[in-house]
Amino acid sequence: METLERILSQHPFFKELGVDYMQLVTGCASNVRFEQDQFVFREGAEANQFYLIREGRVALQLFSPERGHITIETLGEGDILGWSWLIPPYSWHFDAKALDLTRAIALDGKCLRRKCEDDHHLGYELLKRFSHIMGQRLESTRLQLLDLYGVRS
């Protein structure tokens, strides 16, 4: 049987984090499951976790009274979901809804925040990894904003 530590240590996000830190991170991890159309989190709620999606897909959405639920991005197997747990005021800025049956590993952000405050090296390592993801998402968003496939006027 695959242990959480083994799954986490094989994920690119935690690559070369070191055995001690991996044990520490695993201590904050648990398996979670979301049914189709179940919300993983809702905008405005306290952000105390992030998720490593193992199976299924999750839509990041915003609700607008005029347009309903607008999907900004979908995430799937292998993707990291959520970084609001890391940055004050620690609340979600989007809704996240499972599009399919979704299995993930939830990491307790509150627990990790405390450990990062106690050990700044761990904090720096995690921040480096999240910066990489944020950079990728920013790049994707910029490309989306360019509306590359639209007709040039």
């Binding site: 347009r67 979908t74 197997e77 292998g78 490309l143 590359l148 496939y149 007709v151």
Partner: protein, 270 residues
Amino acid sequence: MVPRPYIVKRIRKDTVDTFTLELGPKDGRSHFSFAPGQFNMIYIYGVGEVPISICGEPSNSTLVHTTRAVGSVTKAMSKLRRGDIVGIRGPFGTSWPVEQARTRDVVVVAGGIGLPPLRPALYHLLAHRDAYGKVVLLYGTRTPDDILFKEELENWRARFDLEVFVTVDRGTPGWRGNVGVVTTLITKAGFDPTNTIAMIVGPEVMMRFTALELMKRGVKAEAIYVSMERNMKCGIGLCGHCQFGPLFTCKDGPVFRYDQIKDLLVKWEI
């Protein structure tokens, strides 16, 4: 290079601004052979001539072109009816490296109207499926309404020997598929980056970022091919309209190996 008359056998509206022409030789006899990735110059009499990639099956006698109505010629083309005559010069240009790709994984990345130029390559790969490793199609469009060849994509998706991922930049109500740019699909696809040939068509910015993502994943620049479109006019490298640095897009392209042009792509002076 006199245009040969071809008769419109069928015209089909694919999306709000995209359509497909099926053409046959007016004399009913001449055979048209082309390699996947090549293009024709299509002449609408009295309006003008435009380069359009060939998007049908290489083995089929019907010539198929899918394009978007954006300029005066393609808008006139979209108004053609069954039985109308157009002029065809071609096929021109270089083709997709389907022979070099044998035994390797193949990743095909299409953005928007970039799928039609890749379709003949996909037909070829599927017709010779045993000759290749994994075959992956990554396709990104603007919205779900802009997805081309929906029925064919569904058939391809049902195959066990072809991985198909589709994403849109903007989801619409009721869309349950992927939302995000096509580059985000690269990490989802299962292929061996050290033994992969990639073929990309789309807007230049999309092709640059897709190539970068593929290289981040370990695909070498020499194994990435892109199809360019730059003011092709004569189709045979004489007029100079499509000059791209030291290259002519119509004659040296439209299919280029990425390492041969990657430095030119970021030089806005040319």
